[in-house]
């Protein structure tokens, strides 16, 4: 009877069995990289051969990778150092505008993108410190509000500096210092065009490779390289003394200080190193799109990056990257695909028939943030550690790991007790049916249990 309960579960053969962790991880990364390199070349044929699968286009993958870089950067601030930042888009904007200022006709400065990207990284890092310094004493909600404000301020400043006048106040003479109607940032019309990165290698594509949206495949390889660099840097920071200091501050700032960690510089380093990666992403995005507009750097971007981190598993590097690809894939490919193939038409027809505008205009893809919100709420309840968490985070979110195991164990025990109870009842039934009151020792079942007793099933085979 109990053998059914104990039957071994059918196991899926593990292709990585016997490999040590490091080798297994390297193998997986290598496979992923090969797929990433080959995919955009074969994408069209895949789509032609299997049109019922929502294959992501190369442009979508580029967005995925850009957000993976952003998420890895924010993960340093939020995941490692535990500082909630809701204005991360500001650094992304600063990286992009730095690129636009230094590599476009806007100011007539045309520095090579390969140099500009490092200036963008430095600019984002400096602004990371500028934001970090006054907020050092803030934690949690308060820090979130201040950073949120910073993100909005940066966007609005970039928008408004397209048309401004800087003058002395009237009582000082009112002399105009800058302007009138000075244009620093292009305002709402943004800065367009921006010089894309180029490599002077002649080939069938012309006399140089241009990494812009005119050449998505080349751009994909570029952003992939940036993502790999970001990832490696994050791994190394995590495993360094700085990474441990960040986590110590996240765990207990007072104890961290009492262990000799300078919490001020350590937190500033988190802000500036975290921000610097968005300089990567910003410099790439500006050059790839060859145009930037202040309004694209809005609050939704900050929120999406936070959602990605929480979805993937806060603090977990692979989780964050997978989260970015998953979120942007759903956002840009899957919802549009499901909408146009399945949901939109019937709902629109229903709306037309019933006169409900909400349904007539229904387009699944526009409900992306609603869907993210619902997913996030479910995640918070069912799996707060994210889809691909690190070991520590798992324990943190679910109380003590050992206790979880114990609970699982006691569930098993409970099942065993129930099983035993069934055995006992059955035995009692047999006893009743046989009705030989004086021959007790012979008819008693092997297991003698009262209702409600807990017995050890391992001992069941032995006569009691």
């Amino acid at each position: 009877m109990t053998s059914a309960v104990r039957a071994p579960r059918p196991t899926i053969p593990n292709p990585f069995a016997g490999m040590d962790r490091r080798r297994r991880d390297l193998t997986i990364v290598a496979i992923l990289l090969v797929v990433a390199i080959v995919y955009p070349v074969g994408y069209r044929s895949l789509e032609a051969a299997l049109p019922f699968i929502p294959w992501p286009g190369t442009a979508v993958l580029i967005t995925c990778a850009t957000f993976a870089i952003l998420a890895l950067g924010l993960n340093i601030v939020m995941g490692f150092a535990g500082l909630l930042d809701l204005g991360y888009v500001a650094f992304y904007a600063i990286g992009a505008y730095t690129t636009a200022f230094l590599a476009s006709s806007h100011f007539g400065i045309h520095i090579s993108w390969w140099i500009v990207i490092w200036i963008a990284v430095a600019a984002a890092a400096v602004f990371g410190i500028l934001l970090g310094a006054p907020t050092l004493k803030l934690r949690g909600d308060y820090l979130a509000i201040v950073t949120l404000g910073f993100g909005e301020i940066v966007r609005i400043v970039f928008r408004n500096l397209g048309d401004f006048t800087l003058a002395l106040p009237a009582f000082l003479g009112g002399a105009i210092l800058v302007g009138p109607n000075a244009n620093l940032t292009g305002g709402n019309t943004g800065i367009n065009p921006i010089d894309p990165p180029t490599i002077p290698i002649p080939g069938p594509w012309g006399n140089q490779i241009v990494f812009s949206n005119q050449n998505a495949i080349a751009s994909w390889y570029l952003v992939l390289a940036l993502l790999v660099i970001t990832y490696v840097v994050c791994v190394r920071l995590r495993d360094s003394k700085l990474g441990r200091a960040w986590m110590a501050i996240r765990e207990d700032e007072t104890a961290a200080a009492a262990m000799g960690i300078n919490t001020v510089t350590t937190k500033l380093l988190a802000f500036s190193l975290g921000a610097s990666f968005s300089g990567f992403a910003g410099a790439f995005t500006g050059a790839y799109q060859t145009a930037i507009f202040a309004e694209t750097f809005n609050f939704n971007v900050s929120i999406l990056v936070v959602v990605i981190i929480i979805l993937g598993g806060i603090g977990s590097l692979r989780g964050v990257v997978i989260g970015a690809f998953a979120a942007q894939y759903v956002n840009q490919t899957l919802l549009a695909f499901l909408g146009t193939r399945i949901f939109n038409q019937p709902l629109n027809d229903l709306g037309d028939a019933t006169g409900i505008d909400l349904l007539s205009d229904f387009n699944l893809a526009t409900y992306n943030y609603l869907i993210f919100g619902v997913v996030l709420a479910i995640m918070m309840i069912r799996r707060p550690e994210g889809l691909f968490p690190d070991e520590g985070a798992k324990a943190e979110m679910h109380g003590i790991g050992v206790a979880a195991e114990v609970t699982a164990g006691s569930a098993e025990l409970l099942a065993a007790a129930e099983e035993a109870e069934a055995v006992a009842l059955e035995a009692a039934a047999i006893e009743e049916a046989t009705e030989i009151p004086d021959a007790l020792p012979d008819v008693l079942p092997d297991v003698l249990v009262e209702r409600g007793d807990v017995i050890d099933l391992a001992d069941e085979e032995k006569p009691s």
């Binding site: 840097v233 190394r236 920071l237 495993d239 360094s240 003394k241 700085l242 990474g243 441990r244 200091a245 986590m247 110590a248 765990e251 207990d252 007072t254 104890a255 961290a256 200080a257 009492a258 262990m259 000799g260 960690i261 300078n262 919490t263 380093l269 190193l273 070991e391 520590g392 985070a393 324990a395 943190e396 003590i400 790991g401 050992v402």
Partner: protein
Amino acid sequence: MTAAASTAPSTAGDLLVATDTSKVFGGLVAVSDIDFTIPTGSIVSLIGPNGAGKTTFFNMITGLYVPTTGKIRFDGRDITGKKPHEVVRVGIARTFQNIRLFGNMTAEENVLVGLHHRLKGRWFGAILRTPDVTREEAEAHAQAQELLELVGLRQRADTLARNLPYGDQRRLEIARALATAPKLLLLDEPTAGMNPEETRRLTDFVRDLRARLGLTVLLIEHDMKVVMGISDRVTVLDHGEKIAEGSPAEVRADTRVVEAYLGRGAAAG
């Protein structure tokens, strides 16, 4: 007890000298004009009823609080008002009354954090993974393992601190403090919540540490057996004031102490 006193190195001077230190919170005088010295190589205990100002005094030494008045000198340097991480760097390490480990880091990582200020590598070195940084990290891990061995937690190196049993957490906190290479170790109620056997082992361990590492120890403790058994000198605080100081025997005989505190403590013990 007398053996402990005699093994203490002769006072080559005082490691820590606090002069006229006070701490006032609003209208509350938590610590009032205390003069206090810790001879190099000794084990000194700070006792007193709850709210006597013991932990406040600890926090002033370790830089968590800035004294309202007074000066604290350590190892010939003025450390008054220094920040906690600076105090660690001159050679003072502490444990906390309510254990404050980094719960979601492993035991080894906790000790590695203690080693933090002794590692010279910088973040850009870590990014480039220079040979210096790689070597230093390997050494740090080896050192962390040694410290875990010292407190008997080597088998638990990869366990998250929060999953360790209570007694192990106390010992890990000491290992983490030792990792900072202190000259003075401050232990805030290290035996709180321990059974008599654990308490005895911890007392032996602290005495052993002093002998092996040449540490000076300042102890806040409620367990009178521990205090009387281990201390070279005992200082008694009550309502923020120092009411007695001396050898355990002297303090035990002091009528003010008996009145304020030890009467009840001795009766219970």
